[in-house]
Symmetry: C4
Subunit: 225 residues, 4 copies
């Protein structure tokens, strides 16, 4: 079964990428300046580390939710997934760049923020295309019907538009654009990928696998509802 | 089944984090000072490497024991697990910082030790919250009953209090606080997470899965009993 | 079952190698030169990153297709697979070298390009040997018959010859040889390893596993046909 | 089942450790010295990379063979396995150190070689202890009987003695000790861990799992017999 190895490889890449973020946390060297002062002056590194860790974590959770509804994985989906991973792997670089330039201000800070947002926009587009492909070619275990599919794609499109807007905002103000990307991240903590959304009360379970009660326990109210 | 991928991703992060510790072992450069002298002057790096390797190893073993008793994994548990991994990934940074400043002494050494202890306290709190959530929402394959659950949570709380105390001690003496964290680590080598604790003689197996005799062989006396 | 762990270890190596590519993307330091100018002057790093990411991704997809047709894995195949991984792990080094020297031109650029091509030639030879061994010792779940085996090996040999030619071309022109390796990569996006090629219309499914319809859906027309 | 996650975590560590070796291959910087000259002067790095890659690869293959015969995994085995991984993770550091000092000669080269050999001796001792524990506590799926167990442990002891001798030789001559470790590696390519050794002709299959013909095909003659 293809899906298992797609997941294993993706999990490996997610795990390495999320851990590589820590390499951006340069360890201060003993010297003239006290440790506390050095750490304080590196606050953008720590803020960027936290934000990007959360971002990769959320992408992983949603990837997980989407992929486990795949009934089939074709060659195109392998390459679309690779494209998604390409952007994920680039996140540590974009994080380190924005951490290095955020305090500089001016054109350099804007450009660093633009790069950061473009990486997330690329990731979001690849993710949406993977979803769209799996719907269009009926590779989902529990197919999304016309209306549900439309809703799902619209939700993804909103994310893409938000990231695209953040690219534009980054030209004007790096910090505001980063705040935006934090908010988009928070949105995707609550918003689940369509494959795992619990059905509305009284409706059919869209993604019920036999015996799979993972998303339907009393905890389902968490976190948004 | 969600649990499999939660384990796969977590194992990947644990594996990368534990291996990244070695990057803190800077290879000496040939030059004026002999190799032996350079290595000797870097002893805190080696000590910190050993302690942190053991620490991540123990966390992995206990994570393993907890997760394999999960019957269900909900979205909150995925994010609580991410929070746990966040602190684990930060361990190589904290290790390198403490290794760089331990010999400096004074306020810098204390601050480095505080950072180290805070990372472990954060990890411990996330771990305890994950356990508490899985008990409270009845996601364990073999539920912990009232008394057993209380015992389990008390044991975890003890660990949290010990790490919190180590944070306080770190302000006074970095080496003493590190000794404490070594002892806490040793405690968790012996102390197992509740899900895998063998039942007391004559009692019921709390965590028996059918056909799973892993923890009940003649070796069970090892290492504490 | 051996195959599972062969896949798990290989996936781990692929995942780490593909993610390590990003370490070659040195983050510019704030200083006299603007961020935009610094990034522009590093364009070979970004180009090499994209090409090598795609290359490792394609190798992974084809590895995946070959290995899932293994019915048995013997000790020789474990070591042939290790040889393949050896070359894969070397790709980040070769990528960084070519990125550093491409703009220098002259003998250094040629040598860097030769190194890059030799790494891919070695990878290709190891891959071909693994395929040849699995055919010769009848370790495929669905054996390749005489004609199909010949076709499969000829296709692999073509790849090897192309990489060998790229080594020669690299002596003359580094950029042309890199263009060649891009084209070879594109060839292998379309060309699948024999184990997963759909049968010609009316023919037998060479690689049909019962219930495995992964490669035969309506998406099979993608991407080449 | 514990074994699966023990394998997954170990595979992750092996995969990261083997890939981190490549970080020791410093990419030459364009400058006064030609690329060819720089690479030539770094030959010990490349030699050490090849040897250590092979070494980790062989350890992985033998680990794989031992672990898949585990019927049970107890807590002690998890920690013995961690001890083995501790030494494996240290290999990239030892490799980089020996590569940096091999050409220096004298006491520094000897010390670097001693460190390298001690790491392999530690790995070998941990591996042997894991084997001994699994035999002694009857955790193997197909138990080793008295004579077979003795033979297996003697073979492992020989490896330990050889590594111990290499430590001694390293004090006298770094290159000779490295040649020794290459030969020990070659020995373990041929010598399999007991759990996977094919039975002598006419004897019982020591490690036959039902339906597992992995090691008994026509390729079994490879590579030693």
């Amino acid at each position: 079964m293809d899906r298992g190895r797609l997941e294993a490889f993706s999990d490996g890449v997610f795990a390495v990428a999320i851990t590589l973020l820590v390499i951006g946390l340069a360890v201060p060297e003993p010297g003239h300046v006290s440790l506390g002062r050095q750490l304080a002056s590196h606050w953008p590194s720590f803020a960027a580390y936290v934000v990007s860790f959360l971002a990769i974590g959320i992408i992983w959770v949603n990837h997980h939710n989407l992929v486990r509804n795949f009934a089939r994985v074709d060659r195109a989906m392998l390459f679309l997934n690779l494209l998604l991973l390409f952007w994920v792997v680039t996140i540590p670089f974009a994080t380190a760049t924005v951490a290095a330039y955020l305090r500089a201000g001016g054109a350099d800070a804007s450009l660093a923020a633009v790069i950061y947002q473009v990486v997330f926009l690329g990731m979001s587009l690849a993710f949406g295309t993977l979803l769209w492909w799996s719907i269009r070619h009926k590779h989902l275990a529990v197919p999304l019907t016309g209306a549900a599919a439309r809703t799902a794609l619209i939700r993804f499109t909103i994310g893409n538009l938000a990231y695209a807007a953040a690219v534009g905002v980054a030209y004007l103000s790096a910090p505001v654009s980063l705040l935006m990307s934090g908010l988009i991240g928070a949105y995707y903590v609550y918003e689940q990928t369509p494959a795992s959304r619990p059905a509305p009360a009284g409706g059919d379970q869209v993604n019920a696998e036999p015996g799979d009660a993972d998303e339907r326990g009393p905890t389902d109210g968490y976190p948004g509802a």
